[in-house]
């Protein structure tokens, strides 16, 4: 079951740029050759706060995409919401600041061997890693449709260039301030039927992932979701980021979302048992 990401390396890497994009920060970091080993779904653990910080734990961020350019070399992009102390510190760091990273970590999204129709569902800035995934799926000949949702317009992350790799993109906000008023999960059943969707990829808050799992199970569609649990280490040694997941034999184990995730088979995650004593 355990699948350590053997490509993980600890490195010092400079920030290439840090731009504000709506509610979020787009941070590009030069990671050189390591970029080639990063896959959609993988994450990075970053040391935050500098030397005199009281913050002793790394912060985990989903890698939204990687690219290689002849001038800058290999880079990775992070979309960060300045929520807590660590992310606020990171968002305040400018070009040239050198970060201590461990990357790439965790599992990645599985890519279908056949060019099948797929649906990508993102909640809030959880949509960020889906754009790199969309490009990869598109290049493999998959029809890619995307649904993005958030509570309100400012929390939707949908870069213009992100639309290139997708066949359609629909936006849902709970307050109706952008796109259709409602939840991102509302149209999923219909889309599965209309487009004969074979795989759903999702990233976002846990209630959204749980709701998608229910629909996916109903139609027997594969659901690969990227989970988010609070982590102390990101490398598999602290045992804090566990989720209850069903084993082959039906028993349930607490699996680490940093090693056996973040990308997990949604139908095996026991959403109703999260936070419960097993």
């Amino acid at each position: 079951m355990m699948q350590i990401n053997k490509s993980a390396k600890q490195l010092l890497a400079p920030i290439v740029s840090n731009k504000r994009v709506g509610q979020y920060h787009q941070i590009i970091i030069n990671i050189g050759d390591v970029a080639a080993t990063c896959k959609p779904g993988n994450f990075v653990a970053i040391s935050v706060g500098g030397d005199s910080s009281r913050m002793i734990l790394r912060r985990a961020f989903a890698i939204s995409r990687v690219s290689t350019s002849p001038t800058v070399g290999g880079t990775m992009e992070l979309i960060v919401a300045a929520h807590g102390q660590g992310s606020k510190w990171l968002c305040a760091q400018g070009e040239g600041v050198v970060l201590d990273l461990v990357v790439p970590l965790g599992t990645s999204f599985g890519i279908p061997t056949e060019p099948v129709p797929v649906l990508l569902v993102g909640g809030g800035y959880g949509s960020a890693p889906l754009f790199g995934l969309a490009e990869l799926l598109n290049s493999r000949g998959c029809r890619v449709d995307m649904l993005l949702g958030a509570s309100t317009a400012s929390k939707i992350y949908a870069p213009m260039e992100g639309k290139r790799a997708v066949n359609s993109m629909r936006i849902y906000t709970e307050d109706g301030s952008m796109g259709t008023a409602g939840r991102v999960t509302d149209p999923i059943a219909e889309i599965i039927k209309d487009l004969n969707v074979a795989v759903i990829y999702s990233c976002g808050p846990m209630p959204m992932l749980a709701a998608i799992t229910k629909i996916a199970d109903q139609f027997d569609v594969v659901h690969q979701c990227a989970v988010e649990e609070s982590m102390a280490c990101g490398v598999g040694i602290c045992m804090t980021c566990v989720l209850p997941v069903a084993n082959e034999d039906g028993s349930i184990s607490n699996l680490r979302s940093c090693i056996d995730g973040p990308v997990m088979d949604g139908s095996r995650v026991q959403w109703s048992k999260v936070g419960q004593q097993l």
Binding site: M2, I4, K6, A8, Q10, S47, R54, M55, I56, L57, R58, D100, V102, E229, S230, M231, A232, C233, V235, G236, I237, C238, M239, T240, C241, V242, L243, P244, I252, S253, N254, I259, V274, G275, Q276, Q277, L278
Partner: protein, 313 residues
């Protein structure tokens, strides 16, 4: 200049370096092995293992606190049989030196676990964790009760005494640590591991409820280092011949040196590895340099050095 003798001993076990993973902070070594060869440190102290597999406490299991963190894992693990079948052979193959940490709910469970380790080759010592704070019943924290501590160690000694060094891991959450340390040494402990985490709690002011799934958790990290240094110093003063594995917030070579000067024969690194997977390697290198800079020719000369009267006096 003569080379520094960096080795240390606990009971009859010899280690080429005094640096160890702290139990519960490195799983069974595999995860750190991708960052450095495990054989390059003193040894791996494995996550405390119980008789049966255990899923541990519910999430959230972690809260970062100033210069520290609370954890509430609750001894999640595969159980002794799976551990012996998979994890020990892996560590042996990596040529790592192994200290197996065991935890039980009853005095008998500890003896049973010790018995299972008797015939296993490749193990250097056994850590008897009688101080995990993340159990349902605080009454089960044997290390808070001098008599219960003694009974556990006595049971383990009767099973494997003389074959494998026994290290008792104690809690700082007691009124008189020295008397508990003396008790377990009388009962047959060859060494002591000081300290386990300090029981703590965080309340989320948004939900206005305890943040951790298990409500309370163990505080670790630099926040508890002065407590650990004090514990090691006090115990070494009374039991200078007993090797101590010092731990609690060690994050640099200087921190490790402080613990050794207080009386530790070895140091274990836990929370620092969460923030930096190669922390043990840097701490080891820094410690070597600091000892050399101070004119020590062996680690052993530095153990408990802080207890010597100042030369100016």
């Amino acid at each position: 200049m003569t080379a520094l003798d960096f080795s240390t001993t606990i009971g009859n076990a010899w280690f080429p370096a005094p640096t160890f993973t702290a139990s519960g902070c490195a799983s069974s070594g595999r995860e750190l092995a991708q960052f450095f060869p495990l054989r390059e440190m003193g040894g791996v102290v494995t996550k405390s293992v119980m008789s049966k597999s255990r899923s541990g406490r519910p999430t959230p299991r972690m809260a970062e606190t100033p210069s520290g963190m609370l954890n509430s894992i609750g001894l999640q693990g595969p159980g002794i049989d799976a551990f012996l079948a998979k994890d020990v052979p892996y560590l042996v193959e990596q040529k790592a030196r192994i200290i197996v940490s065991i935890a039980g709910e009853t005095v008998e469970e500890y003896s049973t676990l010790a018995r299972k380790l008797r015939s296993v080759s490749g193990i250097s010592a056994i850590e008897v964790n009688i101080s995990c704070p993340n159990v349902e019943n605080r009454g089960l924290v044997f290390a808070c009760d001098p008599e219960a501590s003694r009974r556990v160690i006595d049971g383990v000694r009767r099973t494997i005494g003389g074959e494998l060094p026994i290290i008792a891991k104690l809690s700082p959450d007691v009124t008189d640590l020295v008397s508990i340390a003396k008790g377990v040494v009388e009962a047959g402990a060859d060494g002591l591991a000081l300290i386990n985490t300090v029981l703590g709690m965080v309340i989320n002011v948004e939900t206005m409820r305890p943040h951790l799934g298990g409500k309370t958790g163990g505080l670790s990290g630099p926040a508890i280092r002065p407590i650990a240094v004090r514990a090691v110093y006090q115990v070494h003063a009374v039991l200078p011949q007993i090797p101590i594995l010092g731990m609690g917030g060690i994050a640099s070579g200087k921190d490790a040196l402080e613990m050794i000067l207080a009386g530790a024969s070895g140091v274990a690194i836990g929370t620092a590895s969460f923030g930096n997977p190669t922390a043990i390697m840097s701490i080891q290198n820094e410690l070597k340099q600091l000892l050399t800079d101070r004119g020590f020719t062996s680690l052993k000369e530095a153990v408990g050095f802080a207890h010597r009267p100042s030369e100016r006096e």
